[in-house]
Structure formats: C-alpha cells, structure tokens
C-alpha cells in the first residue's frame, strides 16, 4: 500500500483529484501508519535525492489529508501528530549523511542498509582514513555523536596526521594543533605526541606534551623518548609519588650510578623518596648518597644506626669510630664526643661483663649504673660517675633508688651523710615511704629544707609536724593543704589552730 500512497502523492503533486480515491483505498484497509512507515523506509533505500524527497513528503501528505485540508506542517505540529516522528527525523538525518558521502568528491556509495550495519563509528573511521577530516567532523556534529567518540576522536586523528607532515616546522604544527584542539574534550595529547615521536619528531612531541594536562600521561612517553630529566620534573610536578617512583626506578636501571645520583641531587623530592626506598631496601646505597653530598652529619647518624644493629662488639665500636670521624667532619663536636663516650662505655661494659658476668652491653649509662648499684658494684658505678661526668644529681637519685630497692637502710643513711645532698632530703623521705619504712623516713624529715618541710611531714603522716611547719611559715596554701588532709574526727584541735593561723596569714 505504500505503493499506492506513493502513487497518490505523485498524483497529488500533479493536483489530481484521483488522490482522494487512492487514499480512501488505503484507509479502508486501515493500514495507514504502516503505509507511512514503509514510505519513510523506502526513502532510505532510494539513492536519488529527488525521489527521497517525494517519498518523505508522503509522510506529510497523508497527515494533511486526514484533516482534509492542506498546509505545510511545522516541526512542532509534526511532533504533535500521532505518528512517531523519530523515525522520520532520523531517516532524514541518515539520508543527509549518506547523500554527503555519496557525493562524487567523496565517493562512498553506501546503501542505507549498509550504513546501518556498519554504524556511524565505522563511517567516521572510513572518512578519517581517507583524511576527510572536515567532513568527518561535520558528520559527527550533525549526528550529535558524543564528543569523546566523535569530534575529539577525529581531531586526534587529524592531529596525528598533521604531526607527520614533514614540510612544516615544529612551531607551526604545535600551534595549529593546540588551536584546533583547544576546546575539544577528552583529547589525549600524549597519543598525538607519541605519533610525532614515532615519526622522528622528538622536539615536536615534547612541545605537544606541554598541552597534556595529566602528568601520568606525559611521563611514560618522556621516558621512552629518553627525556628523563624532563620526565622526572614532570612527575614531581604532578605530586604523584608513585609516578616519581616509577621514573626513579627507571632511571636507576637506565643510568650509571654517578649520573643517576647527580640527577637526583637536583630534585630534592625525588632524592628524599629514593632515600626512603634505600632505607628499607638498600642501606649501602644510602651511604653512597650521603657520601656524594658530603653530608657528614647524616653519615654519622647512619653509622650510629648501623652500630646498634650489629651484635658484635668490635664491629659496633668500629662503626661508632666511623661515626665519630663523620661527626668531626660535620663540625658536630657534641655528637662526636657523645659517640666517643659511647665507645668507652661499650668497652667498659664488655670488660665488666667478662669479669663479673653481668649483662651490661648495650645499656645506657644510666641503666648501666643502676645495674651496677643493684648488684652492689658501687666502686664501678662510682668510676662511671667520675669518668663520664655524670651530674651529681643524677648520681644521687640513682644511688638513692638503688639502695632503697635493696632496703639497705644503713648504707642509705651513710650515703646521706657523705655530703650535703644535691637533690635535697625530701626524696630520701619519699623513697623510704615508698618502701613502707616510716621509721627510716622520719630520720630525714629534719634535714629537709623549710620549703619542703610541710610536704615531708605529710609524707610520713605526721599531721602535727606538718601543721607546725605550715603555721611557722605562715603560708596560706600550705596551711590549706594540711587542712585538707586533716580528718574532722581525730584532728579537731589541730584544725582549729590551722584555721586561726590561716586567718592571720590571709590578713597579712
């Protein structure tokens, strides 16, 4: 019946009355929409634009007849009709594209069926292959192909082709490419650059890579082009540590050690990353790196670290000696001296270990002395105290603690009398209390300085004494402290006295 419709249209065109007859015929079979569909489809198979037009016009013709008067439909009216216009619209588009490629200058005589089979993508590919870039772009735009698959893809191909044109200079091409591609979404400049590189235009490739916003894409190609310094700085610029690692590892295998180190030296970020890697994987390389930089301080630290990883004493001492040398080179006298002390301490510890069988090697000076005192080797502890210029205070604390731990109260008392205690006598009181020896503690209370008297009395639980001391000193906060420790039931009188004293203290 499409045939009839076609015929009818043909007749209508000639303004013949017969049309109405034809139309009625179709109507009777109530297959109008089918007829319209067929018309549209038939148009698709027609090569001659004029015939296409006629067939497509049928579509409207029928519509108009339905309303029994004639008019030219506008798009909106078209859309408001019952017959779905999509098919019609897409057919028009397809035909327009097909007609364009069928043009003799292009010469791709495709049938509509072929076109549907091979899809737009392939058609664009073919156009691209024939270097018909402008047409391909027009087609993409006309068919509203998404940019990624459409315009951008064509532009990329164009650019790839462009960069192979040997007669033009790098600058001209780079500029042309960047101007054309500026607004296109999803362009991978690195692919274009790869093409340029493959056709032997490294400089152009580098220029093009400048446009690539993603460093992750730039770096591999730069490496391939052996532009490692650039690759490294790009990787660092990207802030992507992983990328930097990739480049650093690549360089490590590619360059000789000297060049590699030199390159890292100019890139602090890469260097610190590589150091980090070496710390875990290659200790010796780390040393070489410090050596190259004449970083004696770090070298010293490196040896110190190495020394306590080693179990053997000789090795440890040797490593420490290296550390000392480095520290002196770094003009760090403090570290050098401390390290020398450590060597002396190690030797001392070893000697004593052999003589006395005490486990000592590796202890800090403080711990060594604690151990010595706890096993009663006071002489040796004292030797350390003198040799290593241990502050008096520390020594007193140490000895105090050690003696109390052994509950050697007699020795403690003697020690307390050797000279005036540099740490005062409150610690004596406290240490005795800690070991639950109130009797011993009381011995030292009288020796405590006036400022600490209250505390000392309180420590031994002597409320009376504490109150006495506090009142004597007329110190409000101390009186309050004592008050807070009094219990209302047993220390009633004391509290009264304290309160009175407090009142006068406040007045003052």
């Amino acid at each position: 019946m499409a045939g009839i419709l076609y015929l009818m249209a043909f007749v209508l065109q000639k303004e013949s009355q017969k049309a109405d007859e034809y139309l009625r015929e179709i109507k009777e079979q109530s297959l109008l929409s089918e007829a319209v569909r067929q018309c549209v489809e038939a148009a698709g198979h027609e090569h001659e634009p004029e015939t296409q037009k006629t067939l497509l016009r049928r579509h409207f013709t029928y519509r108009r007849n339905d309303n029994t008067h004639w008019f030219t439909p506008s798009l909106s009216q078209l859309l408001s009709l019952n017959f779905p216009p999509e098919q019609f619209v897409s057919m028009c588009r397809d035909l327009r594209v097909l007609n364009a490629v069928r043009d003799y200058t292009v010469g791709i005589p495709l049938t509509h069926t072929q076109f549907k089979q091979m899809t737009v993508q392939v058609l664009i590919d073919r156009l691209v292959y024939r270097k018909l870039y402008p047409l391909a772009i027009e087609v993409c735009r006309y068919l509203k192909t998404p940019e990624y698959q459409g315009v951008s893809r064509v532009l990329k191909h164009w650019a790839c082709y462009k960069v192979q044109q040997k007669e033009e200079s790098d600058e001209v091409i780079a500029k042309a490419v960047s101007v054309k591609l500026a607004d296109a979404a999803g362009i991978s400049y690195s692919e274009i650059a790869t093409k340029a590189y493959e056709s032997g235009r490294t400089e152009l490739a580098i220029k093009l890579l400048e446009f690539e916003p993603r460093s992750g894409e730039q770096v591999p190609l730069l490496l391939k082009m052996k532009k490692s310094p650039l690759a490294l700085s790009k990787a660092i610029e990207s802030g992507d540590t992983d990328l930097v690692y990739t480049v650093v590892m690549y360089l490590k295998n590619e360059l000789n050690r000297g060049d590699f180190f030199m390159m890292l030296r100019n890139q602090p970020v890469a260097l610190s990353l590589y150091k980090q890697f070496c710390k875990h994987q290659e200790q010796d390389t780390l040393k070489d790196l410090f050596n190259q930089d004449d970083d004696h301080e770090e070298l010293g630290n490196f040896y110190v670290k190495a020394s306590y990883k080693d179990q053997r004493l000789e090795a440890r001492v040797a490593l420490l000696q290296s550390a000392v040398d480095e520290y002196y080179k770094a003009k760090n006298d403090f570290s050098a001296k401390t390290t020398e002390d450590e060597m002396r301490l190690l030797r001392f510890q070893r000697k004593l270990e052999e003589e006395k069988g005490e486990q000592l090697v590796g202890f800090s000076l403080h711990d060594t002395m604690t151990t010595l005192l706890s096993v009663g080797l006071h002489k040796h502890a004292e030797q350390l105290y003198k040799d290593f210029r241990v502050p008096d205070k520390r020594f007193w604390w140490l000895k105090l603690k050690a003696l109390a731990e052994k509950e050697d109260w007699e020795e403690l008392e003697k020690f307390g009398k050797t000279k005036k205690s540099p740490i005062g006598y409150l610690p004596f009181v406290e240490v005795c209390i800690k070991h639950h020896n109130k009797y011993e503690a009381k011995k030292y209370v009288s020796k405590v300085t006036p400022e600490q008297k209250v505390k000392a009395h309180l420590a031994v639980g002597d409320m009376e004494g504490a109150a006495e001391a506090a009142i004597e000193r007329r110190n409000e906060s101390e009186i309050s402290t004592v008050l807070s420790r009094c219990s209302a039931t047993t220390d009633h009188l004391l509290m009264e006295r304290l309160n009175r004293a407090k009142a006068t203290a406040v007045k003052k």
Binding site: P213, G239, D242, Y245, Q276, F277, E297, S364, H366, R394
Partner: protein, 590 residues
C-alpha cells in the same frame, strides 16, 4: 554535652554508608577468588578490618583461616611453597592503594610472576558519628619527617570519596604545605572523574597540617576521652581496660563512641568533673532500680521487659567508666602529675622558665619516663623558639645518659621537624657581634649583645599566643564545670592553636586580617570558593587533620560547634597523642 543541647544544630550525614561501601568492595574481591582461601592480614589492618567485616562475614565468603602477617611473610610463604613444589594461588590485596614500589619489591624478591595483585580502596573508617579516620599512623612520619608524599594522593582520594558520596563542598580553607598538596591532588581527581551535582551534606572543608600546631598534641590531655587515650590507648575506637579498671582478673575491650550513653556524656568533660558526674549517675541508676520495690506483678513484668535491660547495660558501662576514672584519679592526682601539669602550663605561659628547665632535668635524671621527658623538652623548645645552646647541650647529654646514645638519631629527627632545636640565630648573631664589636668600644658591645639576644629569643609561639589570645590571663578563676571557651580542654590554660585557627578562619570566611599569623606559621594558607550554596549544610564543617589529631582537639571543636550552632566532622589520618607523635619520631630501634 548530650545531643539534645544542639537542637538547632544540623544533623550529621550517615557515615555508615562508607563502611558498607568498603565491605562490599572487600566481598567483591574475595568472591573473585572462588573456593576456600586463607587470609593473611597485616597486623596494622586487623582492627580496622574488624570494624568493616567481622570473622563471620569473612567465613561466609569462604575464608578458611586467618593469619596475622608479620614482616614480609607473603614473599617467604610463596618462596617456601615453590621450594616444596606446592601449588597455590596467591593474591595480594593492597589497601588503600597499591604503590609502584610494591611491585618493585615483589620483583626483587622474585615472586612477581607468582602473585596477582589487587587494590582494596578502603580509605576511610568512620570511628564515630563525627570522627572519620584514614587509619594511617605512618602518615605523620612519612610525610613530615621523611618527605615522602605518597599518602597525599590517598588523602585526596579520601576527600573525593566523601564528595562523591555526600556531595560537593562550597568552600575549602587550608594551611600547610601538605594541605595544599592534598587539595591539589583532590582537584585533579575531581577533574578526571564525572561531576555530580547534588545537594551537599557539608559545605565547608578545612585542611590543616599537623606541623602547623605541634604544641597542642604535646600537652597532657585532661579531657576524659583524651585522658583515656593517653593512659589506656584507644585503638580504632575501642579500648582495652585492664584488671585494675574492671576490678576482676580479666581485661575487657570496650567500644568508645556515641553509642555508649554514659561515655557520650562524659567524653568531652574535664576529668575533674567526671567523677562527680558518674556518682550522680550511679545514684540515679539506683533510684531507677529501686522503683522495683512496691511494684505489683504486672508492673514488675513491664519493668523487666522495658527498662531492666537498658538499666543493666547502663550499669555495666557505668561501673566500667567509674573503674577507669578511679584508676585515672589514682595516677593523675598524684603529686607528680600535678607538677607535670604545672610545668606544662608555665611553659605555655612563658613563666618561670628556669624552674621548668630544672624540673625537666630532674625528670630526665630520674628516668621518670622516656616519652614524657622528650615531650617536655619539645614543649620547652617550641614555646621558647629553641633552647639556648648551653641548655640544649646539657639536657641532650643528660637524656642520652639516661636512655642511650641511639637517641642521637631521635634528636636529629626532632631537630629536622623543628620540634627540638638549639637556638641557631644566636650563633650567626655572635659572628655578627664580634664583627661589629671590632668597630665599636666595649660598652657598646655589651648593649649590642643584649639587643642581639633579645632578637634571637623572639619566639613565634609567644607571638602567636599573644595575637590569638591562646593563653588566658593567669590569675583568673576558670570554672571547668561551665567552660567559657575551648581552653577548658587544657584546664583553662591554653586554647588549642589548631582549633583557634579554624574558629578565626570560619568567622572571617577566609584568611583576611590574619596575615601576620599565617606569616608566623610559615604561610601556605589558602581559601577557595568552589560553589555557592545556601543550605543547612553550610553549618557542617569538615576538618581534615593531616598527620593526626588528638581527642582534646575533637572535644574543643565539639565545644566550638555547640557555641556556634554548627557541627564539625573530623577527618584525620589517625588519632594521635603526645606518645604516638613522639614514638613515631624515635629512632632507637629497627
């Protein structure tokens, strides 16, 4: 500080979604290896994994046995199997992301071809309604000490994840080098991916580097939650209370979050208030129990059905927290702790520095605590802008005598981070002095020396503290029951610098007017407007701490939120405190 007080504050987004996402991805990865499989888990990942997918879930997906991974065992396992001629399939799942270096290591160990690898993008673990953690304790050392920026992208990815789930942000503020890099990495990730326009659930983001404020994490914490962390170490939102707390011979693991009704009421309180609060609570509980008396059968039935379980639960929690605070009181009300706090406060105020140094010296000499001594030293150095050469050397020498020469390296690390320094300016100035000195007479030299030393002593912390009013005037009474500002988290002695910065920037909607402050903090500040939006989300602020944040800071921000009618969500690379911070910098082992 119950939720009801924030009636006008906006509600928080539902972060359990993040857990679900991570769990689903893990399950997907497991399902990709059909059949029975053994799972080797890195020790550090154990607790976070447990929060995401427990053993039952793992078993459901045919995980046969679980092993804890110590050092490099996968490689050893593979190689051992190879020698034994056993055939198994191996897959290494890296989380949160795989690094190129991982492949290099596998290659070097000769197992690259034997294993397949995958990534589990488990970026964020919600620890509580308002705390999200990346669980990257290594972030601090790697980034700030070693200059290894590998985690920057991880932090960026975490932000992007938040953005894709909860909508985009309208404004981003930040300070610090790392913050800037994270922001840039995040921007880059955003450009790569598809844009989603939806109503945001939070609108403002504040990024802050840990090294902007070292003072705060170095102070002793006195807010309940912080104190629990300092004393018992909260791990992944749960804490193990030892026998001294539980008053039995067993340790108990407790989850500490807003689900725990007792804890959520005391977590932000100064610990001096906690005990009173708990005993009041205990009394209330008793009254509730006492209701039973005089009930008839029907009422009793209802009581048992409705209330008893809740009461029992509350009872259990209450007795735990009472136990914990008792044990705290025992440790913390001791003379030592009081003196420690006093020293800290003096340092913060810049008051009686000589006494402080003497105290620290004694602290070192008596070997009280390796970490605490170090902490005080750092606090001294930062607040005083470095130690005088003489003090530095003597204190360092004494420290080494106490704890061993290995700490030379620790000191080197601390110096590198600017945590513990010898006043360098002094040296260069001395050179200058002697040069100038040759030109003028003796008397003028003396004057010059004074002038120079005052120049050298100029301390940034002091200036900052003055400018931002971090340290309230001493002598004023501070009622810890009714805190008037964020200083309450440090007994009214100090407002955390980090939190003060956040407050100021949010108030000014940028850094304008704070140029001097940012200059003293070494700049690198930024404020970017991404989009405009006028919703409730404006009042939810995401604060990201790069390098860790302390519970005290979280408490301070909660307080600030309450004051300003907004809510803060803390995203941190890990929860930190003074011990964790300093332990990360020790170099006495490994």
């Amino acid at each position: 500080m119950a939720h009801t007080e924030w009636k006008d504050a906006p509600g928080l987004p539902d972060f359990s979604l993040l857990k679900r996402l991570a769990r689903d991805q893990l399950i997907f990865l497991l399902e990709q290896l059909p059949g029975k499989k053994d799972l080797f888990i890195d020790a550090d990942l154990m607790s976070p994994l447990d929060r995401i997918a427990n053993v039952t879930i793992l078993k459901q997906h045919e995980v046969d046995k679980l092993y804890k991974v110590e050092l490099k065992p996968i490689v050893n396992l593979v190689n051992a199997d190879k020698v034994a001629g056993r055939f198994r399939r191996y897959k290494i799942i890296f989380t949160p992301q795989k690094f190129y270096a991982c492949e290099t290591v596998l290659e070097e160990q000769g197992v690259y071809g034997d294993v397949t690898t995958d990534e589990w993008n488990f970026y964020i673990l919600p620890l509580d309604d308002d705390i999200l953690s990346l669980e990257l304790p290594e972030f601090f050392r790697d980034n700030f000490l070693e200059g290894d920026q590998r985690w920057v992208t991880t932090a960026g990815s975490a932000l992007r994840l938040l953005q894709s789930v909860y909508g985009s942000f309208s404004k981003v503020y930040g300070i610090g080098r790392c913050a800037k890099m994270v922001y840039e990495s995040w921007r880059e990730l955003m450009e790569d991916g598809e844009q989603r326009t939806r109503q945001p659930e939070f609108a403002k983001v504040f990024l802050v580097d840990r090294d902007v404020d070292f003072v705060t994490p170095l102070c002793s914490q006195v807010v309940y939650e912080g104190l629990v962390d300092d004393l018992f170490r909260i791990k992944c939102g749960s804490v193990e209370f030892g026998p001294d707390v539980t008053s039995s011979d067993k340790s108990i693991k407790v989850m500490l979050n807003s689900q725990d009704k007792v804890f959520s009421e005391i977590r932000n309180e100064h610990f001096s208030n906690v005990f009173g609060f708990l005993s009041q609570k205990a009394k209330n509980l008793q009254t509730a129990y006492d209701k039973r008396r005089g009930m008839d059968i029907q009422q009793m039935k209802a009581f048992v059905a409705d209330e008893l379980k809740g009461l029992k639960q509350e009872h259990r929690l209450l007795s735990l927290h009472i136990g914990a605070s008792e044990s705290m009181m025992k440790k913390k009300t001791k003379q030592d702790f009081q003196e420690l706090l006093k020293t800290e406060h003096s340092l913060l105020e810049g008051f009686e520095i000589r006494e402080c140094i003497t105290y620290i010296e004694e602290h070192i000499n008596r070997q009280v605590s390796m970490i605490d001594s170090l902490r005080l030293l750092c606090l001294l150095s930062i607040t005083e802008n470095g130690l005088l050469s003489k003090d530095y050397r003597s204190l360092k020498a004494q420290y080494l005598q106490s704890y061993g020469i290995e700490h030379l390296l620790t000191f080197a690390n601390l110096r590198q981070l600017g945590l513990l320094e010898e006043q360098q300016a002094g040296e260069t100035l001395t050179v200058m002095e002697s040069k100038v000195g040759k030109l003028v007479n003796d008397k003028t030299v003396g004057k010059l020396t004074d002038a120079f030393s005052s120049l050298a002593k100029k301390s940034n912390f002091r200036a900052l503290s003055k400018r931002l009013a971090l340290v309230p005037k001493s002598g004023e009474e501070y009622d810890l029951r009714v805190p008037r500002d964020m200083a309450y988290v440090f007994s009214g002695a100090y407002i955390p610098l980090s939190c003060k910065l956040i407050e100021q920037v949010l108030e000014r909607d940028g850094w304008t007017g704070m140029e001097e402050v940012t200059r003293m903090l070494n700049g690198q500040e930024f404020a970017v407007t991404e989009a405009r939006s006028k919703t409730d989300a404006q009042r939810i602020v995401l604060v990201m701490f790069l390098g860790g944040c302390t519970f005290s800071e979280i408490s301070a921000l909660r307080f600030l939120g309450k004051e300003r009618g907004c809510r803060f969500i803390v995203v941190t690379t890990a929860i930190t405190n003074s011990s964790r911070l300093l332990e990360a910098l020790l170099d006495n082992s490994a």
